[in-house]
Point group: C2
Chain length 293, copies 2
């Protein structure tokens, strides 16, 4: 899930196109038809039926999730962190209304409870209707879906109560801006148990290096002992290349993970495997230079 206001959206000749103005680039998908459109108190949500990418959700003109390529994002937002933590029992997801991240988290048998805090209930209700496979774990008894403000929820979370926090948010402008600063990271830090891991979607490594640098600095200021940015392909997001950033409370670091258990995982993946986990930890040269402490 991601969103940025300063974009345009063009629909013509059966193509829907998102123009991402900050990088002067655009991505389009060919469609059969628009299936749904509504304006909620928070945003405008559209659902399209595409020719090659299944269903597509667009929020305020920005591509959020398609059937065909969401596996990159949802697998990388979850499995690296969950296989790095030795015993991830309690997880919170901030945002994540399409429920794809929730589904991936619940594939891990160690999970006791996942609380998902999404501000706009309509995103989830539309996902249930148009992306049923992403929502197939919503009725899992370990899942708890809340529809309220994630920043306030995190501020009031019980200290040291969470093993992993996943910020599956829109882009850092407008309502989500408060999810990308030191104040929010301090709330997360307090809510995490020792060795706990914060995961945040961190935009395009090519288009948003400065944002990633700022994020690392704020996470360090908030007390996180280790931070690493994992790039991965994401064809329907600007530049086709995206990332998540992990930050860990304590000194355990983020380079070791339960590799044998990742190799023996009992669920299917399309992108993630232990080799890809190692690969994602490798930094492109320009990013390595940009993130040198």
């Amino acid at each position: 899930m991601r969103l940025l206001n300063h974009r345009g959206q063009i629909m013509s000749n059966n193509w829907v196109t998102e123009q991402y103005l900050p990088s002067g680039s655009a991505i389009g998908l060919r469609i059969h038809s628009r299936l749904h459109a509504e304006t909620t108190p928070y945003q405008t949500i559209e659902i399209y039926d595409t020719t090659d990418w299944g269903h597509l959700m667009i929020i305020d003109g920005c591509m959020m999730v398609s059937d065909r390529d969401n596996f990159f994002y949802h697998e990388m937002m979850t499995h690296p962190a969950l296989f790095t933590h030795p015993s991830p029992h309690n997880v919170a997801i901030i945002g994540g209304g399409d429920c794809g991240t929730l589904r991936e988290v619940l594939r891990h048998p160690e999970i006791h409870q996942v609380v998902q805090i999404e501000i706009d209930e309509r995103v989830t209700r539309l996902a249930e209707e148009y992306f049923p496979t992403l929502c197939e774990a919503n009725t899992d008894p370990r899942a708890k879906l809340l529809f309220t403000d994630g920043i306030a929820w995190m501020r009031e979370a019980e200290p040291a109560s969470l093993d992993v926090i996943i910020v599956d948010s829109t882009d850092p402008v407008g309502p989500a801006e408060g999810l990308f600063n030191e104040s929010f990271y301090r709330s997360c830090y307090a809510a995490l148990s020792p060795g706990g891991i914060l995961v945040q979607q961190s935009e395009s490594p090519l288009a948003h290096v400065e944002l990633i640098q700022t994020m690392h600095a704020a996470m360090r200021q908030a007390g996180f002992g280790a931070r690493v940015t994992l790039p991965f392909p994401q064809p329907c997001y600007p530049t086709g290349w995206w990332s998540c950033t992990l930050a860990r409370k304590g000194d355990a670091g983020l380079t070791q993970f339960r590799e044998d258990e990742a190799a023996m995982r009992t669920f299917a993946t399309q992108y993630y495997n232990p080799a890809i986990h190692h690969a994602a930890l490798c930094q492109p040269e320009f990013l390595r230079l940009a993130l040198q402490d």
Copy 2:
């Protein structure tokens, strides 16, 4: 360099967009103006000045090279193969008219000679004019630029005379189709010295899995003892994710490389480094399953 005929190109409101019909997806870049257009005996070539990606070359409606993102492609088409070969002295490039691959090859001090065989001289002449940094090694005394048919050239190449062959071609339709089959691979195999490496651009891992499978099978049939596909980001190509496939003559394999020398390299890179080399060898789960022998 890549090309596929069955696409459309749209230019409107100062955006130039390539619609890639086989995957129902499109990529657009915002432009200031079109700087040049001409039709050669082989194709139509256009040069644009973009707002955020520098100069952009489009051939027959397909984005070929931009100033901003060509480093992914050119570095990955060259450095993994050249650091895998123990002593790459003699290299041939088939296609590669923008000369970016040639420049990266010539960064390696072990090189004695590089022959580039591009069928359309106008591509290189326009690259010299509009992409001067890509062409800065064209006058290197180790470089030899030929403008002729690469398939015929390879058929007549002296046996065992080349250490690395890089097929920096357009997509496998039309004139370049003959660069993607067993017959051409047999010519390459014969021209390679023992332990020699063939590199071929191999399209999008997401959109072209079947092509990559076919390519691996043909390379195996042609005698290559090892084959591996390396994915990398490429924002201006369809799906934003691309790959090259390496094949090696003999039993030395493709997983070991001169890692210390790659780490101590005397030239700057933007994407490649030894960690990224290891990362690129890691196969996404769906690709690993698709390429199991």
